[in-house]
Subunit: 376 residues, 2 copies
Amino acid sequence: MIYLDHAAATPVSKKVFEASGPYFLEEFFNPSSPYLPAKKVSKEYEEAKNVIARAIGAKGSDLVITAGATEANNLAMAGVSGGVLYLTTEHDSVRRVAEQYGGEAIKVLPSGLIDMEDLRGKITDETELISVSLVNNEIGVIQPIAEIGALVREVRMDRLRRGVKRQILLHSDASQALNLLDVNVARLGVDLLTLNAAKVYGPKGVGALYVSHEVRLNPLTVGGGQENGLRSGTENVPGVIGFAKAVSLAKEHLNGNRKKYAEFKKVFLDELQGYELPVKKHMLDNFVVLCYNGIDAERLVFLLEEKGVYVATGAACAASKGVRSHVLAAIGLTDSEIAGSLRISFGETNTKEQIIEAARIINEVVRAERERVAHE
Amino acid sequence: MIYLDHAAATPVSKKVFEASGPYFLEEFFNPSSPYLPAKKVSKEYEEAKNVIARAIGAKGSDLVITAGATEANNLAMAGVSGGVLYLTTEHDSVRRVAEQYGGEAIKVLPSGLIDMEDLRGKITDETELISVSLVNNEIGVIQPIAEIGALVREVRMDRLRRGVKRQILLHSDASQALNLLDVNVARLGVDLLTLNAAKVYGPKGVGALYVSHEVRLNPLTVGGGQENGLRSGTENVPGVIGFAKAVSLAKEHLNGNRKKYAEFKKVFLDELQGYELPVKKHMLDNFVVLCYNGIDAERLVFLLEEKGVYVATGAACAASKGVRSHVLAAIGLTDSEIAGSLRISFGETNTKEQIIEAARIINEVVRAERERVAHE
């Protein structure tokens, strides 16, 4: 099996599983309970939050632990009254929330990068929040968040000067980023940042929203008042312990992984024999988008699976509903190109040999499929 | 260690941990992905939901998986526009939500049971939702949900006759119930029911809301459209697999556990030498409330812990904030009685010998503390 869909799901790494194990079985106490073993668990939970937070240059108290990136993205906007701008290529968990607040989409360039001119033109005194993911989940394009952050600071200063009281916040979904980017909230200039354990070899059902001190959010769920009142419910201790381990491992292997995936990408494209990529630059090294115009990518997924290669046609949750990728449409691909597009995402389950073998199999399957279509 | 706080947290049972393990490590695929291994995971996830649902007489498609009981309780009310009635002894995750909708509290009798007359008197044509937990989390009192369900049906028929269009729904938080009660949504007559994996030896961070076909809810989080659009986010596969296993085990051992905990309670109270309980009847057999008037229960928790016995003064999340138990106040205990109250909850970590030993230690500690207070 050659699994090339790490953008959809990553396995929990052995070390993460081992780290969280005791918190299921022995250290199971409710962190709010009054006796020492529970207080110890509470302390370890907070320390795990610190580990996650430090990896992005923040403090544990800046994080609200959620059930994943979707909840974090929903929570990020739970304080605004309107005036949301979002990148048109965002994941549904940003788009659908933004739409609830009458959000307006910002264009992307054919490179997949944000159209900064379009953004500048759309910011008004009503704008309260801008949401742009750090790395796009379908095409792996890395957005210039620091540049957007600088623009937001400019707007903030200008509002201050003119006595406009409305806040303007920058939110970024960094779900896909931690494996290969050194994410730092201050350098990025974000007020809100989404993290997702399940994309960095941590457990499913755990995520976090970084919330800068100045931001006031409304909770999505109320109750026992956990997470500083922003997200009630008994803490998912094993999940957060695992999340912290996963983030530590990502941080530890960051440079090694960058080199590894850069090499994977090079040998993969070399083997694909002069194949022309629709998205080339500003991409995370573990993403490749292949576009076979005139071929049905859903058939390719099926044919490749028969040969033990697992790839995607786009975001898993969108693909399962059979809708055309709004991301590929936004970067200007035709319907026929979109229908022939595959998303490849390398990860820890892969070896260099697998990558070469996968490219060989893709070449072979595409060639056969082209012939079949030609003779139809 | 004698742990007597299973109402606050239960350890994950070994069998649950073993059942979910492979879904962290090998069966890690995104259930929305298009290839067969992912479709297999998706099928197993749906089957796990069916197992949980069947345990309460429902179908998997009636369940919305959440991050726990708190989210389920919040979601249960996410469709109403007002007119919420809730039992005054409810957990904060019901009370705080109900308050957001201008909820009105229903009284309890000194027995801890709902005051049905008060409920009848408070139902108006504006009432949209009534929320009463099946088992109270502090005193273990089992509420007559089926009787409330019958009343709700009467109100519904009456509204139908009179052409009043407003819906009336019954919600019950059954978090504490599954270990010892045979819960069935039709028999109870509930439209919405909350379940919690972490109280039945399943993992933390997983719960479910049963939603009857006729009920239309508004999602708390939007995005990829999972859980029939009612709760977006990649499915927590290992969590739900574990939850299903935990529910199966609870069901399997229901009768055995009832006998076991009834015996535990008997030997415990025998050993406590004629101790008079503030709440006696209609209680789940694994709950005991001890009330030592004139003694500081928080000190007792500390002294008992020194002797290896772990008990609570009330709900963990309320106790951690140092607030007086609203539940014990509602059943008519004085401030001094409340300050001297302990919650004991037996569970799978206990043996009969432990229970006798714990009662002996409690007697001893209380006696010493009474003497200390008398000589102060």
